[in-house]
Symmetry: D2
Subunit: 352 residues, 4 copies
């Protein structure tokens, strides 16, 4: 950390600041110019916040040198984390697709979609039982009944289930029933929920908030890791920008950026990322080419009748075709010339 000291600061003030910094176990080092004076803090600064330093009236600005996350960062964990659920792996070269409807609507619906996506090669089933909706007048999900239907679908298809938790009160039920607990974008900074979920011992799928930076996403992951859970998958699902042609702007560069900064697997949600079913396949393929560790895709047997997010859901037929394309693409990327996983690819992949 570097502190820029204000012009006109008295030597006594600097002395006081130095003493304080030393009392924190850090070592201050000076850079002096004609019109600038800086103090560099050497040592373990992970517990020191910028704002703690900004409180001193002689400090003009504080600049961070290293990332604020320790557990989520690659610096102390150079190897990729591989999340493994029922022998299905995500991360470290393993790729997985999570598919299913936005929300569980009925036994027929969830069984039909689960069956279809399993046949096409999806490794996980998604489906919302509790739905965060902008309007109190919209369908809010089937709740516990929805969880029961997901369990039936898991039994019939063998697909592990991924579903969203919205409130700490349901943590016990989720521990019992669910394979991967999803934290939705709107709850990315619901810190009590992150902590509760981090204590369950269950793998977590953490979605990026639509106006959160990548660093904030990794700090939210840090909450979960700090609470004890190491199996965390992060998901880019579109950020909020001025563009209105798409529901969100899918930030695909988050894939290589997160892979540089963190060891956690990162997946892409092209459904929320675009909001239009016609855009989902191209963005899914782009995510694969960008090196994502997986995808989460909304599939509905009758998008025009969906109670939620119909316009961004693709049909099982489109999904089936897309899965074939994904496999074809991954194969191409893994062959010698284009190999994402061989040594040649290193220059433009992870920097670890």
């Amino acid at each position: 950390m570097i502190m820029i000291i204000k012009q006109g600061t008295l030597p006594e003030q600097i002395e006081e600041l130095r003493a304080e910094v030393i009392s924190w176990g850090l070592q201050p080092q000076e850079i002096k110019g004609e019109s600038t004076f800086m103090l560099g803090l050497v040592g373990d600064t992970s517990q020191v916040s910028e704002e703690a330093l900004m409180r001193y009236s002689c400090v003009e600005r504080v600049m961070k040198v290293s990332e604020p996350y320790k557990l989520a960062g690659r610096r102390f964990h150079p190897d990729d984390t591989v999340v493994e659920i029922n022998n299905r792996k995500i991360g470290g070269g393993s790729f997985a697709v999570i598919a299913g409807p936005c929300s569980v609507e009925s036994e027929d619906q969830i069984l039909s979609v689960a069956h279809d996506v399993a046949l096409s090669g999806a490794q996980f089933l998604r489906g919302g039982a509790f739905k965060p909706r902008t309007s109190p007048y919209s369908f809010q999900g089937l709740g516990l009944e929805g969880l029961e239907l997901l369990k039936v679908a898991r039994e019939k298809t063998g697909l592990p289930i991924v579903t969203e938790i919205m409130s700490p009160e349901y943590v016990d039920v989720f521990i019992e029933d669910v394979d991967v607990i999803q934290i939705g974008a709107r709850n990315m900074q619901n810190f009590p929920l992150l902590t509760e979920v981090g204590r369950t011992g269950k793998p977590v799928l953490l979605k990026r908030g639509p106006s959160c930076t990548i660093d904030e996403l990794l700090m939210a992951a840090e909450y979960i890791l700090y609470a004890g859970e190491s199996q965390v998958i992060v998901c880019e699902r579109g950020i909020r920008t001025f563009e209105t042609a798409t529901r969100n702007t899918l930030d695909l560069s988050a894939v290589p950026v997160i892979q540089e900064k963190s060891h956690l697997p990162v997946i892409i949600d092209p459904s929320h990322g675009t909001g239009h079913s016609s855009l989902v396949p191209s963005m899914a393929l782009a995510a694969v080419a960008a090196g994502a560790d997986g995808l989460i895709i909304e599939v509905h047997n009758q998008p025009e009748k969906a109670l939620c997010d119909g316009p961004q859901s693709i049909t099982p037929i489109v999904f089936d075709h897309l899965m074939k394309q994904i496999n074809c693409l991954r194969e191409a990327l893994m062959t010698e010339d284009g190999g994402l996983d061989d040594g040649n690819a290193e220059p433009f992949r992870r920097t670890a």
Copy 2:
């Protein structure tokens, strides 16, 4: 609501759509051009979502005509809501200032600040007991002990207390101890929390999420109103943009926009809105001139020692001077020529 129908749609498809719409109690009316065909839906469309209509494959686009909120909107509630707590009013011409530290740190601190802001004329005391922090390593607030200290401060100064709730599990304690329950920006779309808090019978201060539109803020207020609570104050506290000179970009035009759209009182938080204490007074005065119904301002007796948000906290001395300026400004705005509250002001204030 208007539906644009895709070119090449068959008459049967349109017939099916018309039948469906009629079954919802709505009346479809047609607009036909050479290359365009639209259906306007007449009737109570508040329960009809855009996406419900987008599901139909023959629908190209849906355009809303009226706002999606009924309870929060001015259309059916033309008169301003006046929130009243212990004889202090906010809204409908009444102006109030909520002041205090970002977080409660000790009995000395909160009593000292409470005493100072009361003397300067603040009507409410703010102070966080539970703090949402980006990093798990930052100070998380004193929790229940913080609430106790706020109660002591209330007893000594007579100021009603405003403090943030982060999790439904504390609702009962807040009902008992707190005068105004604050929903923080990060929880603006924590829908289970909105509903729980809306059932407490306590006035609510709802902060706008940093990447939420004004319509989404009013939809979040709608959740609280729908759950039963009518005493809701909304607060603009800065939105996230590309500009980095300020912590957030304070959207002051939200004041007249919200006053046009809604009957709820709207206040401004210049502390989070700017992130720098040197900018707080000018933005507070600007908020008054813009017609805000109140302010919430962070005041700390020793900003350089604050455990949270020190850089944006002003001292009691600066606050005292600011309160004098605010009063002077409000007086000027209420005199004949510049009167915000007289008939002449109407052309540029509320449209109700």
Copy 3:
């Protein structure tokens, strides 16, 4: 176009409005509900602006039904435009890579890079002679001397040259010397320049402004098309958002969106789009998978000595490896199962 009429509007006012609209050659059609009244305008509304209608005090809101661009839109030009320069094609299934340094610095530099990228398979050479720089103290380009060096490089390698024009005064020189005239992101809405360049008879590469919507990009293309030039390539190069991990946020979904809306070829600039050379290859591959018609990539023989944009320039070695990957990827996408160009791919590509 639909006009929502304000509540309380008098019948005479509506009559006046109807008469006006009819005088423009349009036909007004009514939609009447209990609390809403709308007028739909049927006919050729391409010359009618929203604001022209908003001027009427009885109009609450105007909603556009069709896009404002006629020449750039797909509606009246369903077939892809193929831009062809010296037998090299972009668009309509043809893919091309434009590569070279950010700016021309010396004869050695441009010849060396031109030679390398030609060998690796690039179809065009890029290089800035006139450079728009945020600071007046930064290198501003070699100007006319830079153009001369580009011509030498073209002669030696056979690669047509693409370079940016910044001011109408150089139009004549560009007509003489350049193969594709580039309009940079900062000049996307420099309307006199768009018009001047549209009159040159030269193909144009138009870059999206960092805070311009896709519709605004297509309107800027409309200026060029309206001035007479039909050979226009549009380029997505990252938009400005709150995220700071990348220089811009590359909006890859612009590729399928533009392909739905417009017949013009669309290419991607992963160099400006990310700002970091380590991210360029993954985003280039992602662009190919998303269906882009081409790429423009910054390549420098000594990025650490580059006078401009060194951090986002890749070396000729990395570029060569990337070109192999791109070819491998395109081949995979064109084979039967994953074929971007066969009939099966239609559901998720262009809607024309």
Copy 4:
């Protein structure tokens, strides 16, 4: 400037970097920790760009300590610049209002509006002769004929005229005819135009680009100052964000931020800043309270017939009432307790 050196950098590489830095007349100073190594550059770094340093492969990151602008910054010019035109001052405590129609449409129109705003107390007349329009089909302004009409209006009312230049080719005409040359938001980074206008010897009104940061605005001003012109007024006119309730989001905090960073006068455009005439008066008053040095406001005698920007134009009657309110507000702010200009106000105003 601080350079963070990558882990694993060899001593020789650092030595080479040190030598290079010394060859630029700078002095490198080291900060060494267990896992970090930094070089601070001491001396005049105003000509050193971040990217020049980022080119070295051993440099992980570069952090600026001081602002990149010398002429526009307050550091070397602590006193406010006061722009003076025909005895009318802006800046340094002097406040001025520029008013008039978006575009000059006819002699009757411009004379009528000019007469009205002069009577209400405006100090300058605005009016566009050359109009940058998103669509080639919109009214593009009267061009040179518009300039002539502005001159007539100036002669009749005595108001100096402010109008926008769009292309360097008209610089000579503007020198002859215009009192203040406006650079519009879309041309804020049209660097050849900035330089040309900076050489005219005419005062310049520079508008902030809708997606440009305050630092970029001041760098654009630096171009003009560097070209020779010292009379520069900067103008905040709304930035582009995700919010759609307003045309732009007016960033009022730019007023105190710019006043801290720069000595140039800063004015506010509440018309473009909001896009709705009903919001203009509250934002104009807010700008005054925030300490702006002036306002630029669109006034039209018949907004519903305006050829451009009618929805955001206020009528002469509303303008007249607003001017009375502004005067009343400024008086209140200048009296003892609320005085913006007395010593007490210092803590929250300019830091110079």
